[in-house]
């Protein structure tokens, strides 16, 4: 039993430092964005965030991030499964390189993917033969977001898969279930919270992504390939500075992120409660 007053020292000090630093570096700057957008009247705010190009950007960002997160769930599950369950040459290399998208600067990933999938690039030429254009389309955005999002899903699943008790699957087999049936009805439900967490993290990252997307997307309003971060950045650039517009769009983007964060936390709390029982 933990007593209410801990004997361990440092509560006041660490509380003070944590709250102070969190406020200075994160909360106060974010509050400025809130403050800035509250200067707008509701009508102005509404007008700014319902402009056709803004709505289109939100649709593109959310749609592409959603598609990429789904793709990542499929391949993330596959990669995690293969890495945890099987042995094959190059496994350690693969495991180590899963996090490359975290380590590689997004701008580098962005220009590289853009070149690879352009009609003169290695993969772009290949896709061209099937009449598919990747660079400067929504498909390109999805490819970039699959790249940045894949480690989230794999790393969320791996520890859960490792800890999955053998007895579950053995029992299922004893009862006569086939391998795929066991996977679908016994293993997958156990992985669901982790899979959803990975999905949520990849989605959140994808919706706000900037560096890896802007080169491959082409940022054309006509093609609907402008993402929300690009619209915000455009409004910050000299020549067409529009802080009000940027703040209003950022606020909506923030709300979406917070909602996602909340859902992820709820899933984790629910999953934690389930395993503790």
């Amino acid at each position: 039993m933990k007593s209410k007053r801990s004997v361990i020292p440092g509560f006041g000090l660490t509380m003070g430092i944590t709250v102070a630093m969190l406020s200075i570096f994160i909360l106060i700057p974010l509050a400025s964005v809130l403050g800035y957008s509250f200067r707008l009247s509701p009508a102005e705010f509404w007008e700014l965030i319902t402009r056709p190009n803004v709505i289109q950007a939100f649709a593109t960002s959310i749609g592409c991030a959603f598609a990429a997160a789904l793709i990542n769930c499929v391949f993330g599950l596959l990669l995690a499964w293969v890495l945890v369950r099987y042995d094959f040459p190059g496994k350690r290399l693969m495991d180590g390189m899963i996090e490359l998208p975290f380590a590689l600067p997004t701008a580098v990933a962005g220009i590289t993917l853009s070149r690879m999938y352009s009609d003169q690039g290695v993969l772009g030429r290949f896709l061209e033969r099937f009449g598919i254009q990747a660079s400067y389309t929504k498909l390109g955005i999805i490819i970039a977001l699959v790249f940045v999002g894949i480690p989230f899903v794999v790393r969320a699943l791996q520890p859960v898969l490792e800890k999955l008790p053998e007895s579950f699957e053995e029992a299922s087999m004893m009862l006569g279930a086939g391998r795929f049936y066991t996977f679908r009805r016994v293993i997958l439900p156990e992985l669901m919270p982790a899979l959803l967490t990975g999905f949520g993290l990849a989605l959140a990252r994808g919706i706000g992504e900037y560096g890896s997307v802007i080169y491959i997307s082409g940022n054309s309003q006509k093609e609907g390939t402008q993402v929300v971060s690009y619209i915000i950045m455009q409004k910050l650039n000299s020549g067409s500075v529009d802080y009000e517009g940027a703040a209003a769009i950022a606020l909506v983007l923030l709300l979406i992120s917070f909602l996602l964060l909340l859902v992820i936390n709820l899933i984790q709390i629910a999953a934690g409660r389930r395993t503790r029982q």
């Binding site: 209410k4 361990i8 430092i17 944590t18 709250v19 969190l22 220009i111 919706i207 706000g208 910050l236």
Partner: protein, 285 residues
């Protein structure tokens, strides 16, 4: 009775081979090809252009700014991570969940918003600007917190803020507090407890967090892009790459990839370090 060789946890060999095959193809196309592509493009116009690109004045200046931002961000976030992890794992208090969630904010918001937030706080129109101006006047300094190197540093700190604490918290949680409680009962002082009891348990996790933090700090683009406009002065390496790439000539694009190859190299070093640290950490547990 049917003879069963497997334990019920294994797939048929062809299924296994198929799954491994698909994974390897995905892995090669998504993760390995891009690395090869960067190296190929950086060197395809010869070594001379490569050397010229990575020793250009702008590149060296960008390297300097990147180093300053990364070292500062790692230092600040390590200090914060140690304090926050201690607070969140050793004590029970109201609002702990909320505090923990607030620390994670930078993980899930767009880096562009981070840049925007600093502009709106310290920029020309920012509410904190008069206070900064006043401070500058009193101290006789000329520090600006946006569109300057300090601005780049702040934006970098923002996006990497939770990286160290996130790695430390699960380890400290799994550790429990009984050892520290025992040390405290025996009269050990706070810092001694930390140094002698806690630190040995968390050093690998700490190193791991620092590596992740550094990798992200080196590569941050969106947040920094918003608060840095002067090439050769406040640009970091990713911004320099962007500038070279956007210049659009065949030579400058090759140069962009040449500078990129430096960052690819750094990323690979980071991944190897991470792998070593992870391995050592697991072995010690």
């Amino acid at each position: 009775m049917k003879k069963q060789k497997t334990t019920g946890r294994e797939e048929k060999p062809w299924v296994r081979r198929l799954l491994i095959g698909i994974s390897v193809v995905f892995f090669l196309i998504m993760l390995v090809f891009p690395l090869v592509e960067v190296l190929y493009r950086s060197l395809k116009d010869g070594l001379a252009l490569y050397v010229e690109a990575i020793t250009a004045k702008n590149t060296l200046s960008a390297l300097r700014v990147t180093l300053i931002a990364t070292v500062t961000a790692v230092a600040v976030n390590t200090f914060f991570g140690l304090c926050a992890a201690w607070l969140l794992t050793k004590f029970e208090f109201k609002g702990k969940q909320v505090l923990s969630a607030l620390i994670d904010i930078p993980f899930s918001i767009s880096p562009v918003i981070a840049g925007l937030a600093y502009i709106m706080t310290f920029g020309r129109m920012g509410w904190a600007t008069p206070a900064i101006d006043w401070l500058n006047e009193v101290l006789g300094t000329d520090i600006s917190l946006v569109f300057s190197v300090p601005g780049v540093v702040l934006a970098t700190i923002f996006v990497t803020f939770p990286f160290v604490s996130r790695e430390l918290i699960p380890v400290l949680q799994a550790q429990g507090s009984s050892e520290e409680e025992a040390a405290a009962m025996m009269g050990a002082k706070g810092f001694t407890i930390w140094r002698r009891v806690t630190f040995p348990h968390i050093r690998w996790a700490l190193l791991y967090g620092i590596i992740l933090c550094a990798a992200r700090a080196i590569g941050e683009f969106g947040a920094v892009y918003a608060v840095s406009k002067a090439r050769g002065k406040t640009f970091t390496l990713p911004l320099e790459i962007d500038a070279l790439y956007m210049a659009g000539s065949a030579d400058s694009i090759t140069q962009a990839f040449a500078v990129s190859s430096l960052l690819v190299l750094l990323a690979v070093v980071m991944l190897i370090l991470k792998q070593i640290v992870e391995h050592r950490g697991k072995r010690e547990q």
